[in-house]
């Protein structure tokens, strides 16, 4: 029994000190208590709570304070979506429209088999590091590097690295935009969730070179430009870009692309497909 006494003493001594300091802190807390607007904690509870920074403030606490001060809009929390906007609007007693739901799209299809490697890279496991070494190890210097810098910053676990490129799960993505800033190639872009026709390439090289770099590169052939009924797709700097404000999401540009680099996400979503078909009929456009 005697050999356990030192342990007992240690527990009692440290526990006693802990309780003593705890009591002192408890008294100090009462004495120095600051009145906090209860709406701040209510708003703080309503937001998504990922500290992602999509609202433009340092974190969820800072945003909640800014909302109560009246500096921030009630609909700035994109990860929270319409539910959060409604909750904040109720707390603050204001009317707020939910922002259009956004989703991050990785505009690249350069999987391992489509893009060849120029050299073997065995340095720091970081997209930024590898793209600094003579334009990166993959043959295409515009596409996804594949080291998952975006995956590491995603607070919601919406990004997966599949076959050398980042793939974002639309259902999980909250549209906070953290991955957009961190991508050294600028291939991730925030797009409206219903913008489901996407040019999945950023290759600005001229057609012949682009074709050699990747089997699904945009070669700037302008066939999509001619196919578009609303002139919303334009080839700029050798790569097709869709203007989301005028695009009707009809998908006419998808089948004409010889490189299969325009992707229609409707095909993965039958419900949205039906909506798109209805829209196309309304505008007298032939659906492919």
């Amino acid at each position: 029994m005697a050999q356990y006494l030192p342990i007992l003493y240690a527990v009692i001594a440290l526990g006693g000190l802990g309780i003593l300091f705890g009591l002192v802190l408890g008294v100090a807390d009462k004495k120095f208590s600051v009145e906090v607007d209860e709406r701040v904690s209510a708003v703080r509870a309503a937001v998504a709570g990922a500290n992602c920074g999509a609202c433009g403030y340092a974190g969820c606490d800072a945003y909640a304070e800014a909302v109560v001060r009246g500096d921030a809009k009630a609909n700035a929390c994109t990860p929270g979506g319409a539910k959060t906007v409604k909750a904040i609007a109720e707390i603050m007693g204001v009317n707020a429209e939910a922002q259009e739901p956004m989703v991050a799209r990785v505009r690249c299809q350069g999987t391992c088999e489509r893009v060849s490697l120029r050299y073997d890279y065995s340095g720091v496991h970081s997209c930024r590091a590898v793209s600094g070494i003579s334009g990166g190890s993959s043959a295409c210097e515009f596409g996804c590097v594949g080291f998952g810098e975006c995956l590491s910053v995603c607070a919601f676990g919406a990004i997966q690295m599949i076959d050398g490129i980042a793939v974002i799960d639309d259902d999980v993505c909250t549209g906070c935009g953290m991955c957009v800033d961190v991508c050294p190639r600028n291939i991730i872009k925030m797009l409206p969730k219903d913008q489901t026709v996407v040019v999945m390439c950023r290759n600005e090289a001229i057609g012949r070179i682009a074709k050699n770099q990747c089997k699904t590169a945009c070669i700037g052939c302008k066939r999509c430009e001619k196919a578009c009924p609303t002139e919303s797709i334009k080839v700029v700097k050798g790569v097709a870009i869709i203007d989301e404000s005028t695009c009707t999401r009809c998908g006419a540009c998808v089948p004409v692309c010889p490189m299969d680099c325009i992707v229609n996400f409707y095909e993965r979503d039958p419900e949205a497909m039906a909506v798109a078909t209805a829209q196309a009929e309304l505008n007298n456009i032939d659906m492919p």
Binding site: P6, Y9, A10, A13, L14, L17, F21, V24, F32, V34
Partner: protein, 198 residues
């Protein structure tokens, strides 16, 4: 030697020759993190001074009247961290109440005083150097004043740097590290100042 002269020399040696940042290299995190503006640097310095002085006082009692009688001297690190953490909490509450602007300016660096190695360093040094109560508190107070001097000097330099032309690779943090090194070398000049008399 006259004890008062000895104490005065001890105070100066804490601030200049044994400066916690420039010669012991403790507490570099807030030194680089909160030295953007003289005002916040001064506030940080004062907060650290408060914590370090009181931590020296309390840890002295905790060590000699609780840990030593119970043969628990090996637990000093844990016990000291407990003391420091509680003190930092009190400082945080106090600042939140009385100086909210300083509180928000210090931000995360305020709770991080808990893990400021200069604070733990001073308490452990007090024990290992065998200082008595007076010298422990003096070491804490004036060691922290040395920290205050260092961080305010650094903040002054960095405020001037804002308008200086710095080559782009060195802009921002790198040049701050270079300056910290140069200031440390400058403080090396004090190193033998009291060697003959103490």
């Amino acid at each position: 030697m006259n004890p008062i002269v000895k104490i005065l020399l001890f105070m100066f040696s804490c601030v200049l020759t044994n400066n916690y940042i420039f010669s012991r290299f403790l507490g570099c995190c807030p030194f680089l993190g909160v030295s953007n503006k003289v005002e916040t640097a001064f506030g940080m310095g004062l907060a650290v001074t408060f914590v370090m002085a009181l931590a020296s006082l309390f840890t002295y009692f905790v060590y000699y009247y609780v840990l030593i009688p119970l043969n628990l001297a090996y637990l000093n690190t844990i016990a000291f961290i407990l003391v420091i953490a509680s003190l930092v909490q009190v400082v945080e509450m106090f600042l939140k109440k009385s100086a909210p602007s300083l509180y928000s300016a210090l931000g995360i660096y305020l709770p991080l005083i808990t893990t400021n190695c200069a604070v733990l360093g001073v308490t452990i040094l007090n024990i290992s150097e065998g200082y008595n109560l007076l010298y422990s508190v003096l070491n804490g107070t004036f060691g922290a004043l040395g920290f205050l001097v260092a961080i305010v000097l650094m903040a002054g330099v960095r405020e001037r740097l804002e308008s200086a032309k710095v080559t782009s690779p060195l802009k921002g943090f790198p040049i701050s590290l270079v300056i910290a090194g140069l200031m440390s070398i400058a403080f090396l000049g004090f190193s033998n100042m009291f060697a003959g008399v103490m």
